[in-house]
Symmetry: C2
Subunit: 613 residues, 2 copies
């Protein structure tokens, strides 16, 4: 099932996800997965972030990177110029230069030239959208969000708290959402390998996985492996949050091989370049880092431009101060220089860079609460207000924006976050980290935050940034990455269900039907993690015959409620289908019908143990 494609010392997991078949739909060949079922049941299509790695027809060579899916569309627009990429300097890989002790070289096929906007042009999807242009990226998104289904009028119920989720997504709908700023399609011109996706309240709720090394742990090979592993299980975007050695090279390996958008926090690399001394950060170093990362193809930048000098004292009485790395770095810089943040002051210059490459803003929540005590405080909302102001400024240049959010928030304070964000930020997509609904369970913070994430996703948050079991304790390994991703997939899906998204309930219904009919393999294959589901089942019932058994070890054959229900229905249906199967039969009629049913049932011998099919 899983091949390891190893060159040098980098291995990634390839091969189909158990039970799923890769398909490509429509004229753009939009990638999805189809799960075939037994018993004549229709196949179920599901959204697929895993890229070519799960496509048995794909040739994976991580030294070369993925195919440049979007390159022709980009060139066809006629608004880009090719130019010589900036020289990579040793300090791009950390103050001590690159560390080759792990056996991994720089990416061997770095492009010598890169693309950017011609002078005066603007490559942002929002810019095209506002000019009424439906790009191939928007068409791809529409096909993808519909899961390739035809338009079928279906009764959908839910509570989306005022969102406008369409029954069927048209390319025009996508264009309109992007034009309004209510959705973004993060798609740097220099990351043509990425499969287009949308982040927005009226689309499927998305999730992000964080990877990246630290000075203390991990290496290039592990991080590339984690990226591929995370998208296998469902990460819609990946952020490379590396803060250790080989930052530039790690990112190059990742972007060239990533079918999903990649986000970064450029201030980290800038801080490494100045040896970790926040006060030594300058606009020039930061700007150079933006260009460096833009040329590599980063699709969105977290910019903590809301951490303003006057807001820093508002954190003085907090229990956990400033928990954002970037936020604390900028706070230190502001105080040391007694100056307003250069990110805030130079914001329009940053925007010029964003529009030249089509990089989306992820306006950072540097003052987010890192404890229940600090939730929804003055510092947090002061920053949110500023992020709203900056959103408008970015939109004046048609640059795409999403807004980052908390953090640690008790359940009764979650809705207020959504309401204030909608109010302040013009419906720009919200992208939260959880939130965690209690502080008392380190080791289980994927769960404490999964609760808040499901709720805030339901309320309208467009993307949920995952949290792993290692949160607050250490850097996550690949097992943690998987657990975090699956936890956030289920939270995002629970939100889609509650919002009444037309594409959501199909999967729950198919899985529950499979469960009820004891189609065990179908149940596993339809689940978010078929490997684990089967493994857990097989811990007590490993024999192949158990995969068609009408019980499991929870209850055994005599006590399985689904088995008993099936038997009751089978008999009733055979003998008296009219009154039993009509669920709306009035009580008196039901009793009359069942009397007859009972006579026949007794005649059949009241068998509890039916032979297995």
């Amino acid at each position: 099932m899983a091949d390891i494609n190893s060159q040098f010392d980098i291995g990634v997991t390839t091969g189909p996800i158990r039970g799923s078949r890769k398909i490509h739909v429509g004229k753009l060949g939009v990638a999805m997965r189809e799960i075939d079922l037994e018993g004549g049941e229709p196949s179920v299509r599901v959204y697929d972030t895993s890229g070519p790695y799960t496509d048995p027809a794909a040739q994976i060579d991580i030294r070369k990177g993925l195919p440049q899916l979007r390159r022709e569309w980009q060139l066809a627009r006629g608004d880009v110029e090719e130019y010589a990429a900036r020289e990579v300097k040793p300090e791009d890989n950390g103050q001590l230069g690159p560390d080759r002790s792990g056996g991994v070289p720089a990416f061997p096929n770095v492009a010598k030239t890169v693309l950017r906007a011609k002078p005066g042009a603007n490559l942002s999807q929002m810019h095209y959208a506002r000019r009424g242009i439906i790009t191939p990226e928007m068409e791809y998104v529409a096909e993808r969000e519909n899961l390739g289904r035809e338009f079928i009028r279906r009764e959908v119920e839910g509570n989306s708290w005022g969102a406008a989720i369409p029954e069927y997504v048209t390319p025009e709908f996508v264009r309109d959402e992007v034009a309004r700023g209510r959705a973004i399609i993060p798609s740097n011109v220099n990351h043509p390998e990425a499969e287009p996706m949308a982040i927005g309240r009226n689309f499927l709720v998305k999730i992000n996985a964080n990877i990246g090394n630290s000075a203390v742990a991990s290496d290039v090979a592990s991080e590339v492996d984690k990226m591929v592993w995370s998208i296998r299980w469902g990460a819609d975007t990946v952020m490379d949050l590396s803060t250790g050695r080989n930052i530039h090279d790690t990112r190059e390996w990742i972007i060239r091989n990533s079918p999903v958008p990649i986000g970064t926090v450029p201030i980290y690399q800038a801080l490494e370049k100045v040896g970790g001394i926040a006060e030594d950060l300058t606009w020039e170093i930061f700007r150079d880092t933006l260009i460096e990362q833009a040329e590599q193809g980063v699709d969105y930048f977290t910019i903590h431009a809301g951490v303003r000098l006057p807001y820093v004292p508002m954190t003085a009485k907090r229990v956990t101060g400033i928990v954002s790395r970037g936020g604390s770095i900028m706070a230190k810089w502001c105080l040391a220089h007694h100056k307003e943040s250069f990110l805030y002051e130079r914001f329009d210059e940053i925007t010029e860079i964003m529009k030249a490459y089509d990089i989306a803003y992820s306006l950072g929540d540097g003052l987010r609460p890192g404890s229940i005590a600090d939730a929804n405080d003055e510092a947090q909302f002061a920053e949110l207000y500023t992020l709203g102001e900056l959103t408008k400024r970015a939109w004046e240049q048609d640059v795409q924006v999403m807004i980052e959010g908390p953090g640690h928030v008790p359940m009764h304070k979650i809705k207020e976050n959504m309401d204030k964000q909608l109010e302040s930020c013009g419906e720009a997509p919200f992208y939260t980290l959880g939130p965690l609904v209690t502080d008392i369970a380190p080791g289980y913070d994927h769960i404490t935050s999964g609760i808040g994430a499901a709720m805030i996703g339901w309320f309208g948050t467009a993307m949920l940034c995952y949290v792993t079991p290692k949160e607050h304790l250490g850097l996550p390994d690949r097992d943690d990455v998987k657990v975090g991703v699956v936890t956030y997939k289920l939270a995002a899906h629970a939100a889609d269900l509650a919002k009444g998204h037309p594409a959501a309930k199909v999967r729950d219904d198919a899985l529950s039907k499979a469960r009820f009919e004891f189609r065990w393999r179908d149940q596993f294959n339809l689940s978010l993690d078929p490997d684990t589901a089967e493994q857990y089942h097989d811990q007590t019932l490993p024999a192949e015959g158990a995969k068609t058994a009408h019980f499991c070890s929870m209850c055994g054959p005599k006590f399985c409620s689904m088995k008993i229900t099936q038997e009751v229905r089978d008999f009733a249906a055979k003998q008296n289908s009219d009154s039993y199967l009509a669920a709306t039969v009035p009580v008196e009629d039901a009793e009359a019908g069942m009397e007859k049913m009972s006579e026949v049932y007794a005649e059949k011998g009241n068998e509890l143990y039916l032979p297995d099919e």
Copy 2:
């Protein structure tokens, strides 16, 4: 840390929970745990369900059982008579009699006599409460719910959706809640070993752990071990749901050694006695089973008296039919006999037994939805309506009642369940199984259900029945039990926090303060699972020195936001405490203050790396 107390082949885990000290508070010696902290911080008290097993002063001998904590209080009431217990029959341990192949005998110290009410008496805590009597059980509960704290007026905020959580719990408050039926204290006269606890909306949210064997898996020794293991991690009650061999003996070992109330579903054992043939169940066999279990000391019975004959057809069109074991058994019986459920018809006779021993009803949700598709349907609410009717009937006899609830419910339908239950059942405590907010993640159903549980606990549910990672796949082992318990503890605590329970936030604040100050051991010790938190931390930073390091492997020393925040604060505080620490300083004044601060900061050398304390 953990001793294994092994006799025969039964071992249980003993020894203190890491970082906690057992204490006994007040004249009743109410058991709690205290967590001592470093750095001069006040100790934090937490609610403790682990019983004598974590008390280093206790002598544990599982052949003898726990001390009979409540026996003197019971006898002092003068309303009980002692009589010869019913003879244990072989079929009490399954149709084939007891299975000794596991090496475990019957409990060696079974009492020859048991207690019950004198003729005409009523042992129910509700009966005492309604007569204005404050029992020692109610006093114990009050002390326990206050966590032994003094009354301190504190500002508490939250949203309890109309609950009436007091700032401080008095014995009179407990009496009043029990008298109204809004809380129960499950406390069979024959389970004097149990430490009294309350289940009710205006008390701390409680959790239940399910254990018990099936025909396919597990044995007596494992089940006793699981009971002790589950309460160690926080289970407030335990249900023994055994359906395999040795049902009677397993239960005896469990009850004699359980410091928490024990619940059962008597229909399971009754079904075993008739060889698994539901149609052969009779009232007489069922009644005898109730007496058998009442004499052993079961504190609450799940009775599926709401699965009425006319409701069964309402499940015909469901995706997953009837998923409750007891519900499906009763449905089969009703159809086979074409009669109304004997549980419904004989309800008042069951109530007579309940009042003679003080057993609480857990009115079963036999028609709960087992899939998203079936949530909030006609069958489910028809049963709920009947449970409301039965609640009133039980209350006419002053018998304690709680109401069981779903199941599988998408988020937007959860509140309706709470609202309808409050409306139908006279505010009797609600006791739900999750609910799961999506069906698509078997293997992760502790999480899909933890989300729904946290929400419905916030809305007013009094007890949350846990779900383990093995749900839908197989019988949980002890690792699954722990993960399920900790998940549900965090969900219950998140609900307490959101409701504004005065005792809740203390722990979050203490842990976050420890986190911020890099008191790693304190952070672990304050968490729900100190062992796992430390283990995860040590995976990347095992050295002892790391326990005082101002970073972990997530970010390393240069990027730790909390470390950076600390440095910023330390400098500012030393140089200009007035303007920095005053969080309400106006922007203009802050800027003036910070200019001065910045000058001094530069003078001090802008040191980022402070020597560790």
